[in-house]
Symmetry: C2
Subunit: 336 residues, 2 copies
């Protein structure tokens, strides 16, 4: 008979796998108290975000614990990055089916530990419960930001240039790869795209550099068009994106060369976890050196414009003609 985690009680589970993840955070008390005590440095605020991943909805059933742990933590780190916050700590809710094995939990915790080192974030507390349904994982992540220096979605102004980090569409095609929907890729292309889906790279360092440069910022989780739309809504403006300037990886370029009808996957597919930000014209000259400093690409792909339809985003081709997209882009609740 397999040894499942239900043979451990919750306290053993915490002591064995999770207390070690809290050891550098004094106020976590080894996860042995009713709550954690977080110290916020004088002059700073605490930034809090929360994301939930459900098996079969946000990740495929049978996903490996390592990539899953990375994704769970990193989607939250991406939100902190979008606010310009420095990662500090997180609390974790694990609702696990009763047949999860201790080895699964060990690998999950180990991957969390790796990301803790990478991003300087530590486990402060949590809850572990059994569920008769799909695995359901929640992280609430805490970061710090100098008071008043947080990045917001609402500051985009007409004339600002719209920038994005990295390349877009990789993760959406990576998911399609895992679902067997993209034939004809090389092994290397497949590995790159699925890696971008499974292991996002939250742009924490970039977020920390954008205060004073960006007028607005957000991360792209629901797709370029949807998240730019949210930013424009919050800012009371519209935006135009030039398709020809959207940064693409070689792998996505190769797919689109053969299947141009896949353009919506790039601009409306989700899970990019890149930063999208707007920069006033007189500050754009600073962006190339920032990109060089950080060793990442920062691409101007559009412009904020005045308009009566708050939140409207158009994607145009080289002639200025609008590229048709599925209504509203990718919306979590619109799948029914």
């Amino acid at each position: 008979m397999k040894k499942t985690y239900r043979k451990l009680n919750e306290f053993d589970l915490i002591e064995t796998y999770f207390s070690p993840l809290s050891k550098t955070l004094e106020g976590a008390f080894g996860l042995c108290d009713d709550a954690a005590v977080l110290t916020v440095p004088p002059g700073e605020s605490l930034v809090v975000t929360l994301d939930t991943l459900v098996e079969g909805v946000h990740f495929l059933k049978g996903s490996d614990p390592g990539p899953l742990a990375h994704k769970l933590l990193r989607v939250n780190l991406s939100d902190l990055a979008a606010m310009g916050a420095k990662p500090a700590s997180y609390v974790l809710s694990l609702a696990l089916p009763g047949d999860v094995e201790p080895l699964w939990i060990a690998r999950f915790a180990s991957a969390l530990g790796q990301d803790q080192e990478t991003y300087g974030i530590y486990l402060a507390g949590g809850d572990t419960v059994v569920t008769p349904g799909p695995m359901t994982l929640t992280v609430a992540a805490h970061g710090t930001v100098v008071k008043g220096r947080e990045l917001r979605r609402s500051g985009a102004r007409p004339g600002d240039t719209v920038y994005v980090s990295g390349t877009l569409g990789d993760a959406a095609f990576g998911l399609k790869c895992l679902q067997g929907k993209i034939p004809g890729l090389t092994g290397e292309q497949r590995k790159f795209l699925t890696g971008r889906y499974l292991k996002p790279r939250p742009r924490v360092d970039l977020g920390l550099r954008l205060f004073g440069l960006a007028s607005a910022a957000t991360d792209i989780s629901d797709g370029l068009v949807a998240d730019l739309g949210h930013m424009c809504s919050a800012s009371g403006v519209e935006a135009v994106v030039e398709w020809g300037r959207v940064p693409l990886s070689d792998a996505v370029g190769a797919i689109l060369a053969g299947s141009p009808q896949e353009i919506p996957t790039v601009v409306a597919g989700g899970d990019d976890y890149e930063l999208l930000f707007t920069v006033p014209a007189y500050k754009t000259e600073n962006i190339p050196s920032l990109a060089k400093d950080l060793g990442i690409s920062l691409t101007p792909l559009g412009e904020i414009i005045e308009g009566a339809s708050r939140g409207k985003v158009r994607v145009v081709d080289g002639d200025g003609g609008e590229i048709p997209l599925p209504s509203g882009g990718y919306v979590h609740f619109g799948d029914s």
Copy 2:
């Protein structure tokens, strides 16, 4: 066809039902940004706790949204109370089945709003996702405490008196009532007991008064014996509880008069959400006036003793004989 919440997209859902719950919290930005910004007053720390409730595990399938919202928030408030923290804000994860109706969500949000007023806590952010499985709800709650003044589980010392607020066992019998397992109660008794299960009263005001009096504190969620055991483990001590001093409501007294074999339900059943705390002998004279001030009962029911078995808890009768209990009391993961 019924209108279900899946006909609303996530942004409409947030705007209609949840943004109003955040309006008094400036840094929540109306739930329209990637994260919330919390301000911690100078000289204070932030206390963070998290609890998850799963349908069919922590609450009955088909539970009314109002009591469920109260319970979700209050189990977290009870943890803040156990740390001596003042409630401030919370983030909310809702994983909801696709057939949940807007009216259900409206009532859920309305109950959260009532508790926000009662306890002075406000919604700062969250995530709402669809699940193919049971409803799964998580709250991470934030409170504030003057630096260094948090209550801990680890300070109990031999000779300290063990106190508990309110009465014990009501909620465990309330659950049994809902399951049809306790016949012969009056309507009033049934209403009282189920109310104690469905709508815990977190002892926030008490927690705020215990610094300087209590050597250790925790809340009772897993039952008196289990939670006193955790406190004793953290403190490196043992404890003895006198059964005859355990505070009982009239309803539980009536049940036990006819069914003395139900004693373990009182001391090992869960969901009391009372505070359990230890007080050094020279400070116990302050407790009666504190109880009077707060208008609640605070009952001395046992003593902390030295012992080789860290965390051991014995419940004894009038002759000092040990009352046998199911091994280890109530443990979340021990149900398999």
